[in-house]
């Protein structure tokens, strides 16, 4: 089978994951990292990954004209992905299905390679088993008293949402990366319903039904109406866009944002996000450099705020950094065996390819069964306003922990 993998814009993580397709002898894989330069020729299957901007339309047309089957692989292509958060600042990242109606979508951030393989082979993706069905926590969905932006990780039985800690698991498909197994709440990269962000917002808003709400007298009618003033409720959910619509903004039905852009898509993704979500975000969109980016971000904050880090933690972090070097080597050599071995080792320490286990102050879940987890466990950290700089990454956050500015001198 003639399969060509096209990478548009983005972090390339899904693109690199397709290296694993080379392990299958039945597939004849070619990687095309600059589709605009590609000379059109007929092919069986086109796999498109990365996000699409308006200037990519011609390339997409080229591919559509020459392919029997088109597969969108990864959230960037299927629903806009995490980079589409930049649409908040007016960018125009479009999901592929808005341009081509006959597309098979394999979503996920990182997209699941097993699903891609079955789709390429002509199988249909299996049903809609929800993430909650495989989560070790149990939900009661009683009304909440407050929203918590961080929780102690010791409680492993209560649903995150019952603890006031937003988790989008209710609308998520049973997935491979399983952030929830690493005490990281789901952010909905594989939704199983349409307009998942809006639905989850409705659900979470209802959970707060017991929290007092400010109302005022409408002068004309002299009855209560919703007050315009900010109150504790709005304060407690600081970044609705980033937490509910992280991967699906273009397909959510919301109008395109018009917040002032910094001029750079990557920076626009980060600005407005919350400090406690940053490690997961860099873990998602850092591509090959996810590990070093995430660790730089974390370490500069730890140093500035005197967060103690144990020797065990440092040891694991260094291991991850050396694994990153291996990963870069594997991908630049297009070596699937090495890629597979390296990513398996990364998953062992960091939990999954989204680095869900990595966090401020340590790790969120035990790595090796025999060890004393206390020595590298993370704890709730205090949000401190300020500017943080560490070599190639500089960022500043406001008193609520919202990122105001960021520059990443990489790539």
């Amino acid at each position: 089978m003639d399969v060509k993998i096209f990478q548009f814009n983005g972090c390339n993580k899904c693109f690199y994951e397709t290296l694993l397709l080379n392990l299958d002898e039945n597939m004849n894989i070619e990687f095309i990292s600059s589709p605009q330069d590609w000379k059109p020729e007929n092919l069986d299957v086109a796999v498109i990954s990365g996000y699409i901007l308006p200037f990519d339309l011609d390339s997409i047309q080229k591919i559509q004209n020459n392919s029997k089957k088109i597969i969108a692989y990864g959230d960037c292509t299927t629903t806009g992905g995490i980079f589409a958060l930049a649409n908040q600042k007016g960018h125009q990242i479009i999901p592929l299905k808005e341009l081509i109606s006959d597309v098979t979508n394999v979503n996920g951030c990182l997209g699941e390679i097993e699903e891609l393989i079955s789709v390429i082979n002509g199988e249909e993706l299996q049903g809609n088993k929800s993430l909650c069905s495989v989560c070790r926590r149990k939900a009661t969905c009683d009304y909440l008293d407050s929203v918590n932006r961080q929780i102690e990780i010791d409680d492993e039985e209560t649903c995150f949402n019952d603890l006031g800690f937003l988790c989008n698991g209710f609308i998520a498909k049973k997935c491979k990366e399983r952030c929830i197994d690493f005490n990281t709440p789901c952010r909905g990269c594989k939704p199983m319903v349409e307009r998942s962000g809006i639905r989850m917002l409705g659900m979470f808003g209802t959970l707060l039904g017991n929290v007092e709400m400010a109302t005022e007298h409408s002068e004309k009618g002299a009855t209560d109406k919703l007050a315009d003033a900010d109150d504790d409720l709005t304060e407690s959910v600081p970044d609705i866009l980033g937490n509910f619509f992280r991967f699906t903004l273009p397909t959510s039905g919301l109008p395109r944002g018009r917040v002032q852009s910094s001029g750079n898509i990557l920076q626009d993704v980060f600005i407005g996000r919350l400090i406690e979500e940053l490690p997961l975000i860099t873990g998602l969109l850092g591509g090959n450099k996810s590990i070093s980016l995430t660790l730089k971000l974390i370490e500069t904050y730890e140093k500035a705020n005197n967060i103690e880090v144990s020797k065990q933690t440092k040891k694991y972090r260094n291991e991850l950094l050396s694994l990153e070097a291996d990963l870069i080597e594997a991908t630049s050599n297009e070596d699937p065996q090495k890629y597979k071995a390296t990513t398996e080792k990364i998953r062992k320490i960091a939990g999954n390819m989204n680095l869900s286990n990595v966090y401020f102050g340590g790790f969120k879940q035990k790595i090796d069964d025999g060890e004393d987890f206390e020595s590298y466990k993370c704890h709730i950290f205090e949000i401190v306003e300020g500017a943080y700089k560490n070599g190639s990454i500089t960022y500043s956050i406001d008193p609520k922990g919202v990122v105001k500015e960021i520059t990443i001198k990489e790539r």
Binding site: Q88, R195, I198, R199, L201, G202, F204, G205, T206, L208, G209, V211, M213, T215, S218, E219, K220, G221, A222, T223, D224, K225, L226, D228, D231, L233, T234, V237, D239, I240, L241, G253, L254, P255, R256, G257, R258, V259, Q260, G272
Partner: protein
């Protein structure tokens, strides 16, 4: 001063559809009372009868905005008097979050609002409608319409 008026009037002329979800008890009750008393209000107001404002979720609100509504509002019973206990409160919470969402996207948060009214007092409904139009006109004037997001 006259310039202000003409701009405002122009804005109001261009308001075509305001979808108002009114609950089966006080909401549409007050609209009916207003109708019986022949109280005039902005024709752009389109009433959708729902069982309780608690039945209205972000999906319905976005459906309305996505299909051309200039603004959306929910009108329910007074706080503490909801026929089904707390439907109006839940609706308020969800709308409050939606407002914040619109602010995060850089729009005014005045396109969605929650009101209450009293079934026997038509002026509460009309007052709510007037408030919606005023806020909408002000938001459009200062920050542009939500239809700009195209």
């Amino acid at each position: 001063m006259s310039e202000c008026e003409t701009i405002d009037e122009e804005i109001k002329e261009n308001i075509q559809n305001i979808v108002v979800f009114m609950c089966n008890e006080c909401g549409q009750g007050s609209a009916n009372t207003a109708g019986i008393a022949r109280m005039a209000y902005e024709p752009a107001v389109r009433i959708v009868r729902v069982q309780c404002t608690g039945q209205v979720g972000p999906i319905q609100i976005m459906d309305a905005l996505n299909n051309g509504a200039d603004a959306v509002a929910c009108v329910g019973c007074c706080i503490g008097a909801c026929h089904f206990f707390n439907g109006n409160l839940l609706s308020m919470h969800r709308i409050k979050l939606m407002k914040k969402l619109f602010k995060e996207l850089g729009y005014s948060d005045q396109f969605i609002n929650q009101y209450t009214s009293r079934a026997a007092e038509g002026e509460t409904a009309v007052g709510d409608f007037e408030d919606i139009v005023e806020r909408l006109a002000k938001a459009i004037k200062e920050e542009g319409t939500i239809k700009d997001g195209c």
